[in-house]
Symmetry: D2
Subunit: 344 residues, 4 copies
């Protein structure tokens, strides 16, 4: 049986496993204060072209989102997000748990839209009661978004402008960043992202690692005590080198983009072949997540052969169609895709 | 100049002031543990027909909302509210500050609508990821709502059913409760409210007191350490008898409903006379808040004579109309209303 | 019966009551944005000699402590306090509720001692694990302390130095500040306090007001959104002018110090006469709180005549002595003190 | 160079690494909802003799402490801990960050002492102000403690009694539990611990795993939504099977106790040989952590050869002695110990 229901179904890229095996009995200090982490951080700084950025490794995505946001928001600020944003929906209220409101605006293609954000901010500060309301202190974007969509350089730059205008920080959740960088749907490079955002992270969990997200803080006024904040949020890994090992491997010889590229290519093949077969799609995603509309009947027929991610009914009830997510990853095989396509 | 821009513009009803003067030099224990508070609590229990309810006094509305919600929600639960609810918009994120998400659903007449709430809950628990999301632990309603609208007994009972079905508590914000009870737009009595809700409060600040809200906890499984929780939330008044004095007066000889009734009558007069003059209204409010649509020109012409609450542009830009809130209170005089009506 | 068990047993100074009565039906905007509050703030700025300070009024002491500390501490910082400090013991965990650790050091005369604080800070930063620990971000002092003791100007200045050296803020809880200013036991003036502290507050609740504390923020880098933070902490009073009225009266014609002086004089009389009668004292307090050691037998004999504050057993069990707090206030009468002294 | 400065210096036991390699490309659902986790949970339930207990895996220790405590404490409760407890000192204020006070009592042998805890609780509830204070809702113990000391079955049972008497829960931090179970210094078994505690965890990070702590909730009234709470605290691992794999291996063929036993034996050898050489010890530890007193001179002489954990000066300044922690682990070799002993 082949699973396409998410991009964290397997372990890690073999290079990482090999390195884990090789380094297993070496003794290093804990908490990421080891030479392997140092090496990984250097490689990331180079890849992003930000020699002075602070880099930290954190185990998971929700953990990273709430640790970073709690660090960069003032106590009375909230974060502006698309209403479909991961922080708004799927983090069990972790952001609110840390004391901050997630201020949602209607998504557009799964993204924060400049015009909608601008309209929100204008209305907010025009409201006579704004001092009784939660002040937006940051914009949260995910790239790719939860819907596989991508920001163009121009779009991200426009949000940067908005942040500057309204005294906000720009934070990019890159849980699937590799798949964005490897896609032809966006012109954003790591350098662009590092230049435009105050903080962002490079996702490992969904792109070849067992776990791990690399937080890059480019705004020098932020994160002055981020190590302590990671600890305070329960997010400091004792054997921190596990994170260093993984990112060191991912940023050696372009492995990160290479394996992401593999996944995106397979996703593009799925997309074009399904389109050719007459399937329609929820949106036009250029990344490793594809959202075809599939009949319930067809979906049921796959049982025991391939697992897709059923997002629920779509369109008129009598049509009995479902919105489905098909996800490829660095580990997806051509054989699996062949099987999937032959079944659909 | 007459102000109609809110219902907390003056001090307190003369009976309260008189009692404050008379008791000023009496010595009593602090923190509400005095005989005047005891008397007030008894009167409230009687008025609500709940001899065993816990009653506590808290200074302000936001304070009450966030202390109560934090007490009755489990750590991982959020509160369901209309998107126009006070807790969702105008409390500077106090609920989130206490760690809980405000889960908003689109308001209907400024209220939580049974069908919309039901649909939300059904979809929530049908979602395969619901355990990754914030569980709704309570429904928050305000009666009257921020838009002056009222729940019927049937409506509130339907929300009670929903709470029972989904393991939630029902909390009613009665910051303006007096004006609701005094209105002909709802058949809800204090006894009904006490019967249907797990917790509610009777607002004093906007109905004759200098400040103060009386929290009534009718569900015996809630509020076991509410005194300590009030203190923990910074909400315990040292000279607690100030609150007792006010509610003891308000619940003597039906003063609370009497003064609210006065305000509602004046509001009804404003409504009917403005309608007769051809003004249209945002909604059909039967309480002390009225929402006429007034031209910008007319509004400007009132400057220096009466103050209304301008809620911003309404309708097409070229029409230049504004949504306006006119509020009466226990302290509004017939003279003031005469002036207002003559000017409009 | 006369009560000496605390300094918040009565209502407010007659000037305040009179002003409340006189202004009762005047209409003003809410939330402290009224001319009376403006006037009170100006008087306070003048009294403290800080023309540019931000001044805010908050209803209660715990509320003020946790709102201020949460505002001036960074997310990962805690507050250094004597282990007897109000924030450490008697606020039901409000500081921790806001997310900050109260770091306690053993009190000396009820105060934060320079040498002990210095030793703590040196040890803290010498510890290889300090980044895994809560960083001290502020020193909390109360003046007078919970034990009626006072900081000298030199002592407060030394803590200022410590704050500068270790990047901390200095916050003074002045819940009983009037009694400290009126005492001969300290050379600290309001001007000194304003000069040495980053933030402090002038207590009203215990010094002549019904309620209210005036927060003075002298460090211009702090409190940039303090209005919103007050709201967020549930601490914004709708009819804010109630606070303005009280402080405006207290800071007219030196009323604040005058009434505090009255209380301190009576306390000094109690102290000297009890000493003359052979009573020993827990410490040497020069303020309105006195701590004599009284036999259980004697204490019992007072029942129904005067109420003192029994702080529990003192010394050897067989001696059956109790540590007792006797508190005078602006409202204590000579007659009450005569009675007390005749009974003891 | 050999490091003895902590027990998390290496990777994982070879069995775990092998299993990671072997399962690497298998596809499983995320979040611990996979058959490997199920198997590991079953083995743990069996080992603890609690067929109905809830078992969850969490990545790290601080994370586990603050997620569990926040779950089992009511909103207004704090946790009672020895002043040397990990939650009190070395978690960067994570417990306070979650809103709960850590109430400390002086340690005895690094442990919570029954008499001291009892005295605290009696005094607490005898204090007239206890409702203004943080109510103790749980006792936190670590076994072994931060000082390598152990609770006897009788000691732990006495704390259980105290918890029952005062309505508290008993939580045992077993970050180093293996080393406690393998020691001859305590008669506590896994079954005893499961019987006496409401919640405890079995540490993996320091006992053979790359990371991971297994939380066992034996009190059926607790943890009803623990999965969601883990997510809310940022502690849910996407590829949850990583945790399952590790605990499944550790609980196969007694591996967990076997490797812990190895470490303890080496520690006992270090202890007895150092004693024979005339070294004195800070305390009498029967676990993998030993605390000899070593001269600064001697310590300096080890540089570049072995790394010990210097806990700072000990005794009189002129003696120039240091309190040192020597830690063995499952990965410590006889060769390393030989070298250490030959150097000391």
């Amino acid at each position: 049986m082949y699973r396409f229901n998410s991009d964290y179904l397997e372990g890690a890229h073999p290079n990482i496993i090999e390195r884990l095996v090789k380094t297993n009995l070496i003794q290093t200090p804990g908490y990421g204060l080891d030479p392997i982490c140092d090496s990984a951080k250097d490689k990331i700084r180079k890849a992003c072209n930000v020699p002075d950025a602070k880099v930290y490794f954190i185990v998971g995505g929700t953990q990273t989102n709430y640790t970073v946001l709690d660090s960069i928001l003032k106590r009375y600020e909230g974060v502006l997000s698309a209403d479909t944003g991961h922080v708004a929906v799927h983090e069990a209220g972790a952001i609110e748990y840390s004391g901050h409101k997630v201020i949602t605006i209607p998504e557009k293609d799964g993204k924060v839209d400049y015009d909608r954000a601008k309209a929100y901010l204008e209305a907010f500060y025009a409201d006579g009661s704004w001092q009784h309301m939660t002040r937006p202190g940051a914009i949260y974007v995910s790239h790719p978004s939860e819907y596989g969509t991508l920001y163009s350089k121009k779009e991200l730059a426009s949000l940067r402008t908005l942040c500057d205008e309204y005294g906000m920080r720009l934070f990019l959740d890159g849980a699937r960043l590799g798949y964005g960088l490897a896609s032809e749907g966006s012109d954003l490079t790591l350098t662009d992202i590092a230049e435009l955002c105050d903080v962002f992270y490079i996702g490992g969990t969904k792109v070849g690692a067992l776990f791990g997200e690399a937080v890059v803080i480019t705004n020098p006024s932020l994160g002055e005590a981020f190590f302590t904040e990671i600890k305070q949020h329960g997010a400091l890994l004792a054997k921190g080198r596990m994170l260093g090992i993984q990112f060191d491997e991912l940023f050696t010889d372009g492995l990160y983009e290479k394996i992401a590229s593999h996944a995106v290519k397979l996703a593009m093949r799925i997309k074009s072949e399904l389109k050719a077969k007459g399937y329609s799609f929820y949106n036009d995603s250029y990344t490793n997540q594809q959202f075809p509309i599939i009949s319930k009947e067809k979906l049921d027929s796959l049982e025991g052969k391939v697992v897709l991610d059923d997002w629920g009914p779509y369109g008129n009830k009598e049509d009995n169609m479902r919105l489905v997510r098909i996800t490829t990853s660095w580990a997806t095989t051509t054989e699996a895709v062949d099987t999937l396509l032959s079944l659909l």
